[in-house]
Amino acid sequence: MTPIVSIWPLAAILVSLLGALPIILAHRQPNLRESWTILIALVKLMIVASLLPGVLQGSSYVFTIAQVIPGVPIELRVDALGMIFALVASSLWLFTSIYSIGYMRALDEHAQTRYYASFAVAISATLGVAFAGNLLTMYLFYEMLSLSTYPLVTHEQNAEARSSGRKYLTYILGTSIGLALPAMMITYSVAGTLDFTSGGILAGKASPELLALLLVLFLFGFAKAGLMPFHGWLPAAMVAPTPVSSFLHGVAVVKAGVFSIFRIIFDILGPETLQSADLGSLITYIASVTLLIASMVALTQDSLKRRLAYSTIGQLAYMVLGAGMLSATGMLGGVMHLAMHAFGKITLFFCAGAIYVASKKKNISQMDGLGRRMPITYLAFFLGSLSIIGMPPLGGFISKWNLLIGAVEGDQLVLVVVLLISSLLNAAYFFPIVYRGFFVPAADGEGDGIKEAPLFCLIPLSVTALVSLALFFYPDTLLKLARMALGI
């Protein structure tokens, strides 16, 4: 179908960008400020949702913001793949906003206005990445996301935050300027365009060697996807307040990285082109190494948030792995995992934050017996971890099942083994937390007076856990979008 020119994609991005203003202006009235945040989040979700029916019918919405470079305008285009990411991000932002109120007020954090304003800019950039119509536009919003999240990562403004902030920028900006930018320039000078076109724009234009070079530059250039050895920023960024970790480092930022890699593989380099140059295995090997190492490192982490961070690195590699299989089922699994993991991981982070708010505990070894005092939180944590591990009846099962089928269909035994081992590792680093919570009694006197976190924290984490559950039974819309995105 022909694309429809529509201002709504731009509106979806602008609503939170301009929304930062009333948030800043209301800095003396916290209740008003948070009302703005929730209102903006709701409006944004509504705009994104209003575009969904059209996309499901196969139309796409385009809007050109400015003509900058011949053949490469700054242009928004809403298609099925972008829709998945936008839906996940904008719905989870709503929950995060509610959760933030509970978390930030319970801990009496400083500079909350800056926090909410930066968050609003960051979600604008995220939607920009989702709705970008070409590589240049995506790069623009990708950078905007990197920069707007710096004040969030360094929110604490202490020495640790400063060094984490440095690490964050060094990895993220260093790779995007040093690797992704040149790769984009080379692509432009070879192909003469940067439009996302299904099947890629380099077919027949680039030698296998050049393709391999571009692929490697792009894979590592979008370091938000956390592929090793450019993953170090993610554990460091855990110094941020937990809502930031949950939304940005569980959903928006890291998925923007994976989403960018999807765009590169599906719409710039093209699966067939990669297949014919035999480069799929390069992607899957890089992803497999990251996946296994990250899962093993996660086992050794005592800090709950750091364990979750390493788990995220591993799960991101699953998505890249799926895309790298270059087969219909594999790619479908990769795309589905982007959504499924988002709901699961944000639940886990919300729980980690709730535990911290309620008990001031950060380390798993101190969390004995907490589950009996915070049953709802721990139940949600259990559901979230089941989803990440990929067990029925949770959403994560669907994506991991597709990944496994994809590996079997492609006769890639190595990948089958990797996936199975990794699932075991996932279980090994999640279950002990739940076990300690429910079955290991707390030391004497420990944990007296600890009760569930405030409702503002508790409700969002319960809802996201239930959504993870629901996605197992009703994955149809997501599956349809993913199939449309892949043209299968």
Partner: protein, 495 residues
């Protein structure tokens, strides 16, 4: 087309310079309205000139009605009209900030300062307008001498820095003049278009090569092309704040424009004036210059001094881009002249605002600035992002063209140097952003900095800063029309 409109653009500041000197001597209050009025008028006229050249082609004015090639011709085409507008607009914006600084630093010498200031602006406009190689030398000297004077008005070591600049500047002027003399001997004319007609017949002559080499070296010293940059950092750092905001954005950029103009006039695809080897050599020099100047910028502990080294690195960008000798590189250079002028203006305005409130630009002094001067720092951040080359600010797009030119020409050393410099810029500016954001960590145990009260820069400095920051984004988003309607027109086909 004959017209004298563009002459008025230049005449407005030139005539006002003398009026300021006469009337400003006794009544200081008249200085501000006169200077702003003249530059405002200039800017408006420059817009009209640009529009007119786009509609009806080049405008020409001959001084004293002597017809070229004998008379002096002031010629304006869309590209020089763009430069004219750039000079007029940048100086108009910069003047708002210059006024309060000069009022504070040079109370009873304000009229002297603004006389020199306006003559300098008129000289810069003359450089862009003139079509005569010798007249160009005269304009070059007018701008240089006024700059020496302005810098020497600064405090501390300023006279010494100015003297250093005088020596280097005079050497440069001699080189340029010698080159023009050779050309005159060879062709018997001084009108640039006329010279260009005789050049193909002279191809391969040693005298011609010498002439061009002298002219280029002269211009390279004036634009502080590495390694001929030694005079620039101290001169720009020690200049009074009011002069720095004007000189730093414009001087080097206008000189680069002159180099480009000479290259475009003298060269044609059938007649490659300069051999491939020389070209590669210059691009290598530019690449090494970019890397060295960026590295030197890392070693600075003073904001203004750091900015001066960034200027030198940017000169390397533009010289390299022009010598790539392809469409993309030349587009990148011309676009970067506009963008870099605006970025430098933005950063220098921010530096002036900070210096106005805190007194020093040493890094130790920048701690906690986001709390003390939030608006200034917000605009500084936009300028910094433009310098790093973050889209959608304008710095990204010119870098895009430069990189593309480098890739197409296969000059990978230039591509690597550009990317290296972008990364260094990121380090440089985030170091400052970090200092300004975190404050001193000792007292951040309790998050409140009770001691650091909010003390924003005065409106006279803040409003031009805000305007420039907005311009960085607006110009960035209108890159397409700018390149398509003006810059590409001026680059000959198959260049």
């Amino acid at each position: 087309m004959k017209s004298n409109l563009h002459m008025y653009v230049m005449a407005a500041p030139l005539l006002t310079a003398f009026l300021v000197n006469i009337f400003g001597r006794t009544r200081r209050k008249v200085i501000a309205p006169m200077v702003l009025g003249a530059l405002g008028l200039s800017s408006l006229l420059a817009i009209v000139v640009l529009k007119r050249t786009l509609v009806s082609g080049d405008l020409s004015y001959t001084a004293g009605a002597w017809t070229p090639p004998w008379g002096i011709e002031l010629l304006v085409d869309p590209l020089s009209a763009l430069m004219l507008l750039l000079i007029a607009a940048v100086s108009f914006i910069a003047t708002f900030a210059a006024l309060p600084c000069v009022e504070r630093d040079l109370q009873d010498r304000q009229h002297i300062f603004f006389t020199l200031y306006l003559i300098l602006i008129a000289g810069l406009m003359g450089l862009v307008l003139t079509a005569d190689a010798f007249n160009l030398y005269v304009m070059l000297e007018i701008t240089s001498i006024t700059t020496y004077g302005l810098i020497a008005l600064g405090r501390g070591r300023a006279p010494l820095s100015s003297f250093n600049y005088i020596i280097m500047g005079s050497v440069a002027a001699s080189f340029y003049l010698l080159g023009v003399g050779y050309l005159y001997l060879l062709t018997g004319t001084l009108n640039m278009a006329d010279i260009a007609r005789y050049l193909p017949a002279l191809q391969g002559s040693a005298a011609l090569s010498t002439a061009l080499a002298f002219i280029l070296i002269g211009l390279w010293i004036k634009m502080a092309f590495f390694p001929l940059h030694g005079w620039l950092p101290r001169a720009y750092t020690d200049a009074p704040d009011g002069a720095g905001v004007l000189i730093a954005p414009l001087m080097t950029k206008v000189t680069i424009y002159l180099m480009v103009r000479l290259m475009l006039t003298f060269q044609s695809p059938e007649f490659p004036l300069i051999s491939m080897d020389v070209r590669t050599l210059v691009i290598w020099a530019a690449s090494i210059g970019i890397v060295c100047a960026s590295s030197l910028a890392l070693a600075q502990r003073n904001l203004k001094q750091m900015l001066t080294y960034i200027i030198i690195a940017e000169v390397g960008y533009m010289v390299g881009g022009a010598w790539l000798a392809n469409d993309q590189g030349m587009t990148g250079t011309l676009l970067h002249i506009v963008n870099d002028a605006l970025m430098t203006l933005c950063l220098f305005l921010a530096a002036v605002a900070i210096a106005y409130r805190t007194g020093s630009l040493h890094f130790d002094n920048l701690k906690g600035l986001y709390r003390r001067m939030p608006w200034t720092m917000a605009f500084f951040t936009i300028g910094a992002f433009a310098m790093i080359g973050v889209p959608p600010t304008c710095g990204f797009y010119s870098k895009w063209y430069l990189l593309l030119g480098g890739i197409e020409a296969g000059q990978w050393e230039f591509v690597v140097a550009l990317i290296f410099s972008s990364l260094v810029n990121a380090v440089l500016f985030f170091r400052i952003i970090e200092l300004a954001y975190f404050g001193s960590l000792q007292d951040s145990e309790h998050h409140a900095h009770a001691s650091a009260e909010r003390h924003e820069a005065p409106w006279w400095i803040l409003s031009p800063l805000a305007l420039t920051a907005v311009l960085l984004i607006v110009v960035g988003l209108s890159t397409g029309p700018l390149v398509h309607n003006i810059i590409r027109l001026m680059i000959p086909v198959g260049f």
